[in-house]
């Protein structure tokens, strides 16, 4: 289980937090065209790589915060734990030995 660095509590098991997904900014509700608004509602970059995402420390300090995580390697941009990366080779993607 991922250790998630809550800015207030410190590293916590991911299960202690609520994942909130890809961050995106809210268009002005009075100006937005239906296209823009619905792209805010539904469309996502969903990158295979670095993703900025929201977390909520739901069973701890109740802070909403964002962090950057690589969706293919599991790395966090601010390395939390030293020594978690596989040096040399990419982490197994499960489809190859």
């Amino acid at each position: 289980m991922l250790l998630v660095p809550c800015p207030v509590c410190g590293p916590k098991n991911a299960a202690e937090l609520t994942y909130r997904g890809e961050t995106h900014s809210r268009p002005d509700p009075n100006q937005a065209t239906p296209e823009e608004w619905r792209s805010y509602l539904y469309l996502r970059d969903n990158p295979a790589g670095w993703l900025r995402e929201g977390w909520f420390c739901s069973s701890g300090c109740r802070t909403f915060f964002t962090l950057e995580r690589n969706t293919t390697t599991g790395e966090l941009r601010e390395p939390l734990l030293p020594g978690n990366k596989v040096a040399g080779r990419p982490i197994s993607d499960g489809t190859e030995p």
Binding site: V8, C9, K12, N13, S59
Partner: protein
């Protein structure tokens, strides 16, 4: 009219049996009748300075245990009189609010040399002295219930206060008793 009767949320019969002698490896007692008050204020305010408790820790202030478990929030635990007095004397500058949580939170004390082992069966927090020294305060799930935890050793004996929503009372108490079972002597 009859005088109001205060009742704890722990209604199960075992309540008393868990409160055994202090020599036991672990004792679990229901201390829900403590006064519990939440104070919210900005981090740099006079109110905050008045408490002088670092985030993530707790401290005794005039007989009240002041728990700074969350940003902008303090939990005052103690007797009704002392908590009321602390609230009364708060140095309120700017935006400060208080809510009495006495009735909304149930509180257990888990004490004894094996208390950390009991909690380690139902909570993923690290109970090692280095991570949760005496007077550490934090939030975590315990037996799948969201709790506030405070390490509050009693004359050198390891001890924890656990607060959760009142409605979980029976379930929560039973879960801890069950976890403590293997350490019963």
């Amino acid at each position: 009219m009859a005088d109001p009767v205060f009742r704890s949320s722990v209604t199960s019969a075992e309540t008393t049996s868990a409160e055994s002698t202090s020599a036991a490896a672990v004792t679990i007692s229901d201390v829900s009748d403590w006064s519990k008050c939440s104070v919210k204020a900005g981090e740099g305010t006079e109110t905050a300075k008045g408490f002088a408790v670092a985030l993530g820790t707790a401290a005794q202030r005039n007989g009240v245990l002041v728990v700074h478990h969350r940003q902008h929030e303090w939990l005052l635990l103690g007797s009704a009189a002392q908590v009321d007095e602390t609230i009364h004397n708060l140095d309120r500058d700017g935006f400060v609010s208080t809510v009495d949580l006495t009735h909304g939170r149930m509180m257990l004390r888990v004490s004894g040399p094996r208390s950390a082992d009991v909690l380690a069966k139902v909570c993923s927090s690290n109970f090692d002295d280095a991570f949760t020294p005496n007077r550490a305060a934090w939030g975590a799930t315990v037996a799948r219930v969201t709790c506030d935890l405070v390490r509050d050793d009693q004359v050198g004996v390891r001890s924890y206060l656990l607060l959760c929503d009142r409605s979980y009372g029976d379930y929560f108490f039973q879960s801890l008793l069950d976890a403590a079972d293997e350490f019963a002597d």
